[in-house]
């Protein structure tokens, strides 16, 4: 069950082009890999959805790509400030697979450190737009890094249980190679718990609310 709680910021650490926002866990459950949390940037009307990146003892950590006003406000938090967190939300990854491989595009790497830990460190293929962004690969063990114009799908092995996260075109490309892949989608989201219908993504000819139908969905399910 999700919970909403103000949590104290412990650290905001640069990781290449991204930042790792670490907060005290408080009474919030870290949930399953692939589930997400709504983080409320100070001074903003809407919270922002972020999948959990790491769950060290007593902490929750989120990988933020500071590209817009909300994510920049999250990246500008300083230790000791308060961040209100709601979660865990949505459906995470199913971990009962035999030959996992993790495939990410850009900040889609965010849920993989936690997922990798839970799966015992499977191989990962991480695609980034620059070497600076690719520094985030240090968070994921056994990672093969590719940088534009090489794409993760160019080196994706066959006959693996694929976990993928990244922008929508990337997920469609992965699904073309691995129709049964578990895909973690992203979309603008106002609430995270089914209230707003803002996060609809067209999958299989119908709109799905990512917050309660996903964010992890299989096209071939």
């Amino acid at each position: 069950m999700w919970k909403r709680e103000p949590l104290s910021v412990l650290a905001v650490e640069p990781v290449g082009a991204y930042v790792l926002l670490r907060v005290r866990r408080g009474g919030v459950d870290p949930g399953r890999p692939g589930q997400f949390f709504m983080l409320a940037p100070p001074g903003h009307v809407l919270p922002r959805p972020m999948s959990l990146c790491l769950a060290p003892s007593g902490e929750l950590a989120f990988l933020i790509d500071p590209v817009g006003p909300g994510t920049r406000a999250l990246a500008a938090l300083v230790p000791g400030e308060c961040l209100t967190v709601l979660g865990p939300l949505g459906n995470g990854f199913c971990l009962h697979v035999e030959r996992p491989v993790l495939v990410a595009g850009g900040v889609g790497v965010a849920p993989f450190p936690y997922l990798s830990e839970q799966l015992g460190g499977p191989p990962a293929i991480l695609g980034f737009r620059s070497a600076h962004h690719a520094e985030a690969a240090e968070l994921v063990p056994h990672a093969e890094v590719v940088i534009d114009p090489v794409l993760p799908t160019d080196v994706l092995p066959r006959n693996r249980d694929v976990f993928a996260c990244g922008p929508e075109p990337f997920l469609w490309a992965v699904a073309a190679h691995a129709p049964e892949a578990q895909l973690a989608w992203e979309a603008p989201m106002a609430c995270g718990y089914g209230a707003c219908h803002g996060c609809a993504v067209e999958i299989g000819g119908a709109y799905r609310r990512l917050c309660i139908d996903g964010p992890v969905l299989q096209l071939a399910a």
């Binding site: 817009g68 603008p188 106002a190 089914g194 209230a195 707003c196 219908h197 709109y207």
Partner: protein, 299 residues
């Protein structure tokens, strides 16, 4: 005042239509005195193409486009499950002509699990109904004996006249206000929303909504559900003072699903601090001057 509110439900705190899915978050709905559904239309609607939401400096835009399963599936699948929540249910209905509203009201009229019907005649994200507000209210009135609330747009040129006209056509109450059309541009100066514009809600809407309630109160002798950017008990109290008999929470629910319980507690203490026996005793206070009797409704 201080008597039970005239609005159908247990008290004076509701949600704004489209801002809560009671089946996805029943414990949030149970904090309310009545739950207002997302607008239901005659036929199913997938809703608008994404991107559907955008944040602005002091508000948000939405262009969901009345996504809903249609009245048939709603009545068969959704309404019975809402009935199990033990919260009075208001059904918001929408259409594209007065006939649609009449048909929807006719179908809902016999349902004991419907406490009231809200006529959404003001969605900024779909084509406007062909008929004027009064025609829609009159058509709905002829189709049902359920309490009928007309939800009006703050963009109407004369909200008081529209309120009076809805009342004359048979509305039992007013919901003030819906969102107002707005535009957000991205970093490349292109519209964020797929539909270009969307409905603005949140703090930016609050003074606009408050003015609408304040304008409607003296001209209609009806309950008014005030909504638009309410985030705190103080905000809710201001809507009551302007003339609302109940308040609805919208955008704040996205950020804070516990807002109903918090706002309710804040409202009680804010009202007490200003020496009102109950929050509802503050209804119309913004229309009174020192030494004057409360302004009576004149419609």
């Amino acid at each position: 005042m201080g008597s039970p509110p005239p609005t159908p439900g247990r008290g004076h705190l509701l949600n704004a239509s489209g801002c809560l899915d009671a089946l996805a978050a029943p414990h949030v709905a149970r904090q309310l005195d009545a739950f207002v559904t997302k607008t239901v239309t005659p036929l199913p609607r997938e809703g608008n193409e994404p991107v559907r939401i955008a944040e602005t400096d002091v508000g948000m835009l939405n262009s969901i486009g009345l996504a809903n399963p249609g009245i048939e599936a709603f009545m068969a699948d959704v309404l019975p499950r809402l009935g199990e929540l033990d919260v009075p249910v208001w059904v918001s209905v929408g259409g594209f002509a007065a006939r649609d509203y009449a048909d929807l009201c006719d179908l809902l009229d016999g349902r004991d699990d419907v406490a009231a019907i809200e006529l959404n005649v003001s969605c900024p994200n779909v084509a406007p109904p062909e008929n004027e507000v009064a025609e829609i209210v009159a058509a709905a009135r002829a189709a049902t004996t359920k309490p009928l609330y007309a939800k009006l747009s703050p963009a109407l040129p004369d909200i008081a006249a529209a309120a009076a006209s809805a009342a004359a056509a048979g509305a039992d109450g007013l919901s003030l206000v819906n969102t107002v059309r707005g535009l957000a541009l991205d970093s490349e100066l292109q519209p964020v929303l797929s539909t270009t514009t969307g409905g603005l809600s949140g703090p930016a809407l609050r003074p606009v909504a408050l003015a609408a309630v304040h304008a409607a109160y003296p001209v209609v002798d009806l309950p008014i559900v005030g909504m638009g950017g309410i985030e705190t008990g103080r905000h809710a109290l201001e809507f009551l003072a302007a003339g609302a008999s109940a308040c609805a929470l919208g955008t704040v629910l996205f950020r804070d699903p516990e807002a109903p319980a918090r706002v309710r507690a804040e409202l009680e203490s804010e009202a007490a601090e200003l020496r009102f026996k109950t929050p509802l005793a503050a209804r119309g206070a913004a229309h009174r001057r020192d030494g004057e009797e409360p302004l009576l409704a004149v419609a």
